[in-house]
Amino acid sequence: MKRATIILLSLVMLLSVVTACTGNATTSTTGQSGSTTTVDRSKITINYLANANVQSFKDGEDENNNEFINWLKEKSGYNLVYQILPSEGAEQKRALIMASPDLPDLMALGRGTYLDYVSKNYLTDLTEAIEKTPELKATKCFDEEVYNMSLVDGKPFAICTPSNGSPAPDALCVDYEVAEELGIDVKKPDMSLESIMDMFARAKAAFPDLITYTGAGKGTSYYKLADFRWLYAAYDVDTTWRVKADGTLEYCATTQDMYDCLAFIREMFDKGYLDPGYATVDNPILQERMANRSAAFLGASWYDWPGDSAVTNVDPNTAIFPILGQAVGKDGMTGQDLESTVLNYIVVPRGSDVVEHCMNYLVTLTSDEAYEFLFYGEEGKQFEFDAQGKRIPLDDPENTRKKIGLQYYVYYYIYEDMAQRTERLGFMSIGDQVRIDRHQIYGLDMKTKLNPAYNMPSIDIVNEGMPDINACCAEWFLKIATGAAGLDEGWNGFLAEFKSLGGEDIVKAVSDWYVGQ
């Protein structure tokens, strides 16, 4: 009996080995050239793996049959086959597609995944293909700052899509009645740290039934306590990494400025201004507070706002929660850090045999004509020009038409266009805020395009250690903010754990990388 079992199991194992070996042979041809002008493009298929997005297609249409993709097929001449990742589990799906024998020819990645794939040799080196497609170099993707982001060891493995952050900065907001009662000028408030603390004190005295300040603390996943970014900026601990006077990097979470910032937050807690349930408040609860106006001050980010016009209105004259702005720290430090200048990294997986055709397709995709059509639609149908030549969206009952182009096919965003959208929603664009940080004040130079916060190199020790560091920061900072640990007790505990997790080695590794750039 036992013998039978063993024999059977080994047979099964053998069978599985044989199957696995034969079933997984991947062809590995490097991208070959072929004269792209004489070839019949409609016979060439380019498989594009697009990222998940919000909009769903009209009935009868799908990602490979709608006016946008048809227009693109016509313009470029290629037979395009798009596949859209699901919104849930997109990472897993992408990994499965990479593991399966059918690889796409083009796909869009975020920076973390991009670096990961480069280090694992999943991607094609595009130097040659770019050389053969000179028209590509004339596009916005090859602005120096943008192009440099795509380089790994001096070689481009991706074509970067430029995009400048249009999301609105996080800001301190106040209930309009509270503002009136306390005499706060919402259009030009005094945002110094002392003034803010004073506002809290007066609000608590005048409105004892309201929660003085609330935020969605449950969403904290690393050292930036959720909905406190307006405060972090004043201490210049907003950027994750900072450059010191000697040119090396330091990790913001372990600096004296961070301690001071935590002290401020702790003071808020000690004096009863901070929502005692801060650590358990998540987005739905925050929105509930906003809808019921049960808090005097908020630290909401623009995507916290519930999708209801009564509350989303942020016009300072009529808003329910007019935006006050960011705190101003010592020497006038204020303003949140701009996000990365690159939105996506468009890559070609290793083994694709249509590399150059892909580059050609990108030429079409990045043309001004395509941009106009995909981003805006047609003049007269989706938008019209106003007196200044700015595009004003028309009330289109088939709004979906334009939005599909915007979400699945458009290649990059021009800053002004994105800023316009933000403005329409009543928020200020992050690029328009006033930003003063240590670099300007103390004359320090941060090579912003190589800011590790957005351009984190793929170093093993960092990849493996960072998640635990992030968890450690979140845990301890929340403990301090919610009174579970004293300020100094918590701070020392945090530093001790940070050290034991190898944090100092990680900081040194990143700093060395930065200095070596």
Binding site: A20, G277, I285, P467
Partner: protein, 319 residues
């Protein structure tokens, strides 16, 4: 057939083997019946097991399993897991939460099923049962939202009741010492109705003649339950218990993800959530496979222990 002679061992074996062939021949119909199921089992469950070797390699998606390089040193991914204290913390939390579930959650569907069965009115029974499994269909996001509501400071029902009785209001969900209990309670509430389905089916197949006999002998309700119903459903309970113990390493990741926050990591972080955080966006297949393999081995060991334990107590085991 030859008569067995005591010193004639080979002949005894011959008779056994003849018997074996005879049995196989007689059972050919059964083999036919289960052939498709077995083929599918081997094809789709056993053959992919070759993939477990990923944990010993630095798996490269494009190269495939066979062409990926062997990890250097071979057990690198296992080492990485065992090195971090957070891993052991997650492991400890996993086992403790599961331990609570075995002790508290396991008996409840049984009790509930018995209670339902005692109800005399047939239609009411059906209604109660249908209603009781509704929570099973609510997603954890919603359940967590509900609990959040109930346990909130100032506005939550629970805290209001507590302060009514003069107690101190607490932020339940951010308290590490209470987190596990809350999570187990949520799990009990959700799984209670669904778990009674199996038990109820077992309870209803108890021979009514036995109940009648007990009743005539003067046994009241409780006595009948104790002496008739419970012994009859003992086999299925034991099997379920073995499986439950064998699943000590399983973790309800979806549930914990919705409930936990950084303040309760030390008691609430389980293996699944730990891997989720560590592997977020990086798809570390070798690492996750290594941890998964470790979990499976411990699982198997526990199941074997429980199985042997059941056998020792005179019950039927798993196989």
């Amino acid at each position: 057939m030859r008569v067995a002679v005591s010193a004639d061992k080979p002949q005894r074996r011959l008779i056994d083997r003849q018997k074996l062939f005879l049995n196989i021949k007689n059972s050919w119909q059964i083999y036919l019946l289960i052939a498709p199921a077995l083929i599918i089992l081997i094809w789709f469950r056993y053959i992919p097991m070759y993939g477990l070797v990923i944990s010993l390699k630095d798996y490269n998606l494009l190269d495939g399993i066979t062409a990926s390089e062997w990890a250097n040193p071979l057990f690198r991914h296992f080492e990485r897991a065992f090195r971090t204290t957070k891993f052991w913390q997650a492991l400890r939390n996993t086992m403790i939460i599961n331990f609570y579930r075995v002790i508290f959650q396991f008996p409840i569907p049984i009790v509930f099923a018995l209670m339902i069965d005692e109800c005399q009115h047939r239609r009411y029974k059906r209604v109660i049962q249908t209603v009781s499994y509704l929570p099973h269909f609510l997603s954890w996001v919603i359940i967590a939202g509900l609990f959040n509501n109930m346990l909130a400071l100032n506005t939550g029902i629970v805290n209001q009741i507590v302060s009514l009785f003069g107690g101190q209001e607490r932020a339940f969900l951010s308290d590490p010492s209470l987190f596990r209990s809350i999570v187990v309670i949520a799990d009990i509430w959700r799984g209670m109705g669904w778990g009674t389905i199996v038990i109820l089916a077992a309870v209803t197949s108890v021979d009514p003649a036995l109940h009648e006999a007990a009743f005539i002998d003067g046994a009241g309700r409780l006595k009948r339950i104790w002496h008739v119903t419970l012994p009859c459903i003992k086999p299925i309970i034991v099997v379920l218990l073995i499986l439950r113990i064998g699943a000590m390493m399983s973790d309800n990741v979806e549930m914990i993800l919705q409930f936990y926050s950084p303040t309760v990591y030390e008691t609430g972080d389980v293996l699944g959530t730990y891997i989720y955080r560590v592997g977020l966006g990086r798809m570390e297949f070798s690492f996750t496979t290594a941890v998964g393999l470790f979990k499976a081995v411990v699982n198997m060991a526990l199941m074997l222990i429980a199985h042997r334990g059941a056998l020792a107590m005179g019950e039927k085991g798993l196989w």
